[in-house]
Symmetry: C2
Amino acid sequence: MGVIKPSLPKGTRDFLPEQMFRRQFVLETVRETFERYGYAPLETPSIEKLSVLSGKYGDEGENLIFKVLRRGTGLEKLLRDESEFVVNDFGQLVDEALRYDLTVPLSRVIAMHQNELTFPFKRYQIQPVWRADRPQRGRYREFYQCDIDTVGTPSMLADAEAASIVFEVLSTLGFQNFKLKLNNRKLLNGLLNACEIAGSQATSVFIAIDKMDKIGLDGVRNELKASELSSTQIQTLLGTLEIEGDPESVLVKLTDDFGDRDPQLLTGVQELQEMTACMLELGVPIDAFSIDLHLVRGLGYYTGPIHESVITEPNIGSLTGGGRYDRLIGMFLGRDIPACGTAFGIERIIDVMSQLDLFPKQTNGTQVLVTAFEPSTRAASLSFAGELRKAGLRVETYFEVCKLKKQFTYAHKKHIPFVATIGPDEASRGVASFKDMETGEQIVADPMGVVQRMVEKQGVGSS
Amino acid sequence: MGVIKPSLPKGTRDFLPEQMFRRQFVLETVRETFERYGYAPLETPSIEKLSVLSGKYGDEGENLIFKVLRRGTGLEKLLRDESEFVVNDFGQLVDEALRYDLTVPLSRVIAMHQNELTFPFKRYQIQPVWRADRPQRGRYREFYQCDIDTVGTPSMLADAEAASIVFEVLSTLGFQNFKLKLNNRKLLNGLLNACEIAGSQATSVFIAIDKMDKIGLDGVRNELKASELSSTQIQTLLGTLEIEGDPESVLVKLTDDFGDRDPQLLTGVQELQEMTACMLELGVPIDAFSIDLHLVRGLGYYTGPIHESVITEPNIGSLTGGGRYDRLIGMFLGRDIPACGTAFGIERIIDVMSQLDLFPKQTNGTQVLVTAFEPSTRAASLSFAGELRKAGLRVETYFEVCKLKKQFTYAHKKHIPFVATIGPDEASRGVASFKDMETGEQIVADPMGVVQRMVEKQGVGSS
């Protein structure tokens, strides 16, 4: 047999069992939370038509889309049989591509299935996406995205719900020092109007103020100067962005300062007032969020409230990010539908939870190994294992009769916390020698005794 | 805004919420069962190097692999800018491809991570695969596979465990008229030896007898004649394949008839004796399985026990299939590792469960809608919803204040079974009017009263 040296494509990963248990713990927590708020699952194909994805992600994004070679024996035969061949159209080669995000597929689903869906449509989607980015620490070419979105309502309660779910998910996962930052695109646009900054300058101004965390106030000021803003404009703008305090006082100050100068700013303020009121009513503590007027969020498509969650330690940027985008979801439908939602940076959340040691010690791995003592006790051992499984425990039976030492080593390597052994004496009495691998304690018990012991020890029962 | 008419690539599907809840119900059941037997999750990238997949699936399979166009600005630029370009090597265009099955990735993982894994390695894997097959009813280009495998033991207990898990999963999902068919490749090979059929004829003979269910005994006889078997050979072979009865008596008869003629046949018989004994000890009822000597299972790589589960109504072929393959998993490692397992035809299982109406009525969809009565009761409504969520219920709050009729219609369309409404009077008393959408019954209750009512009604509580 010839040996092929195997390797993985750049930027992709295998998830071995220990990692998978951790990933599943996170994904089950988010899923369970989403469903408790009435969000329902959606899955779309990994492969989309190239025409559906094209022109949606800007030039840079376009280059990162993984394209799929056309199928069909014609092309394949040509490619394999001819020593060289001429291609005169890109479309000859590729017609489909791998999912690049979850928003374009959602928009396509809305357009294709609008009559089957009930609006407001609340969905979550947790699936991999592919981007031919340069791989680096924490950035992969295949990674999971995890989005919730509400499509079909302009209500600020929907925005508040998304932010509240962020709070609940991160709290449930054990994060403590995180904060939700809120802002509003209407407010930002209105502020630019109030400062008499031209629409044509808006993008470069937003890019500059978005960098506050990275380059500091002076850096932003320099960038704004380069954008040809007057020093009065810069002073008013930066002075306003520095307003701090509890959400209500920040919003009141904005109203006082600019309320009569720009109606859009006022709308943005009112949206945030409504949104934060709902968040409090939904149970988010007042010190868990703040208005951060520097927050821009890169994507151009937001139209109302925007929000991010950040943790201070480690300093790794945002864990989640979202907002309202009332003019995006209709891209395939030809008419606007109001929508808002948030994305969970699930890969980063998993990485940070590992760093912060937030995973529970117990995974869904095997709880009890039943050893293979000798052929004559196999029936008793398998039956014992069966009883434990019926009680909801996760139980392995060792496959081959061999030295018990080897079997205990197996349990040790796999971090199996308990080992049950049934010799001829135990078999005749319907019991097992039951060893706690952590403490070394050993008892003799029947299946119910074992279950009882494990409930006492680990709080595990029928799950 | 230009409207793009959206559509899906051939052979792919969107899974809307109702379908997703059903899929999740099945996948969670299998996953929970796998974990109760100590199988641990594995995930591999969707994209593999083409060199890893090539040459593994036969000529036909090779043509069905989805290939991914090379990335990099060089190629993309060439393809987009030139009016025509010359390709003189397939490898210039493609270097990666989409996962075609779960066995080749498992073999690659074993080779790449052998020092991180504990053997026997028991893993399950539930992920999509892609095949550029001609789409037809029940056959898709993107579909989930669901495999369990044990790598690293020759023990028949591992084979028995795989078959037992099939029994447990199908029973748990509600299937009743299914049967496990067992056979053994060593037994089949030995039988051919005993009939003095040449090794060169083995493949065509296996192909013929595998068709018994489709073309009947006469059909098989004709095919065997065409394979130039003598009439004595055909008579002995077909006569043997017709042996029926309980597993033990079939195996005893085979031993009596051929035991002295071929050692391989005897090994096959002994393996099945051991395997079936273990299955009984694992709790599989004796009438749930039988020896079916016609069973061949198409794939060439099996080396020992093979098994399939079939249901009689509807007659749609097998729901699961697996066996032992001691010489496959080492393809990247250069040395053999014994292995066995089974694949669950999860897409077919889901289809058949729909046909047989085996899904529970309750999904993980919303259980309670809290209406938006008027702005002044929003705080009370959101707080009430929060209390229900804390008790584990899945609760939506309607986003916009509007006519209650519209909100009840929303609940009706989404099959939400209960609606809670909080007007000013209810708000002041901390209660809600709580309506059972099925019976029309209405009560007034506080959050705990609502939870109590739902436990009584649906057996749902904190989940």
